[in-house]
Symmetry: C2
Subunit: 194 residues, 2 copies
Amino acid sequence: MAPPPSPSTADLILDAAERRAQSVGFNGFSYADIADELKVTTATIHYHFSAKSDLGADLLERYTRRFQDALARISRRQISPAEQLRAYARLYEDVLREGRLCLCGILAAEYQTLPGPMREKVVAFFAENEAWLAKLLAVGRERGELRFAGDPRDVAMAITCGLEGTLLVARTFGGVARFRAAAEIVLAAAKAAA
Amino acid sequence: MAPPPSPSTADLILDAAERRAQSVGFNGFSYADIADELKVTTATIHYHFSAKSDLGADLLERYTRRFQDALARISRRQISPAEQLRAYARLYEDVLREGRLCLCGILAAEYQTLPGPMREKVVAFFAENEAWLAKLLAVGRERGELRFAGDPRDVAMAITCGLEGTLLVARTFGGVARFRAAAEIVLAAAKAAA
DNA sequence: TCGCACTTACCTACTAGTAAGTGAGTCGCA
DNA sequence: TGCGACTCACTTACTAGTAGGTAAGTGCGA
């Protein structure tokens, strides 16, 4: 088995920027912060990402792709819709455990200050999330394994928002234990009496 | 009837800072922004709030006090627990209609970069929120007007987080209409089958 | 020897914060 | 009543530090 190729500087920059963006926001870190961490100069970062908005756009693209991959992996597992919902919530819990927020959650808070291309990608993230969840919910209800009233897209929105908000609040107040308890209640929106 | 006293400069500064904090975050505005808006110098702001962290602390104190007052007004109204829940959600909806977020919601996203005294006040806001809601839920269940399982504090947490998250996401994706639909589903956590 | 990946050295714009000063108003007292 | 001492609310002019960004140059591997 070949050793994994050592990550490129561009990847290392994205990794560092992602960690920071998920904990202090996109406006909360500077090129200097990342440069210090990686023992390079800020000019190196500009070499790979000419403007910070480019770095942000690439960050969002990679993050959304990885999140979509995670959703696809959940879809492929042979587990019930209720179990898939739980797996979905666990994606958020794992992020909290690292003391971070969902990248798009924290960027939604900074939305008004984001460059246009980043805004569009944040919106797209939520739209894709909702679409995946709504489909899961519709299938689950059809099969009689989930129970809820109304448009699956509304329930999907409520679940995504509920988890985003729980992540946001639990990081400052409550921690992982409270996250779990609240997430359980949020998910119940789709499996009440199931 | 005496005319209302014209607001002091300090109040005008707090008003401007609050508006900005609720839309771009505490780190998203500078003393210069507020000074420009009020046609004063940044030194004027420093005269009233010697450091930005003092301004932030005063901001949080005033916001939390007003929010508590709003909760007290809801408590005093002679309406059912379910109606009180709706009134609670309407507090959030009103904020969204102005294109803002809950001050403590957006500050929770910036939590890691906030000065200590501000952090404590953000946490306190959520704790007081949860306490008020938990009491409402407990009374409502006792009276048979609300139905949910488990600790009222967990349900309270889920509702607050759900509304915070819905606010956060709906501002970028969905707007007021989607906020309402999702909020309705969030509230259902406490009145399912009621 | 070419060019990729990077550094050195710099720039401009902006950040919070400060020191010193000003004019208007108020207070205490002879 | 009048006047000196003082305060309040604010401005002017400045600081040190940091932000993102750039132009020119260097070293090294293919």
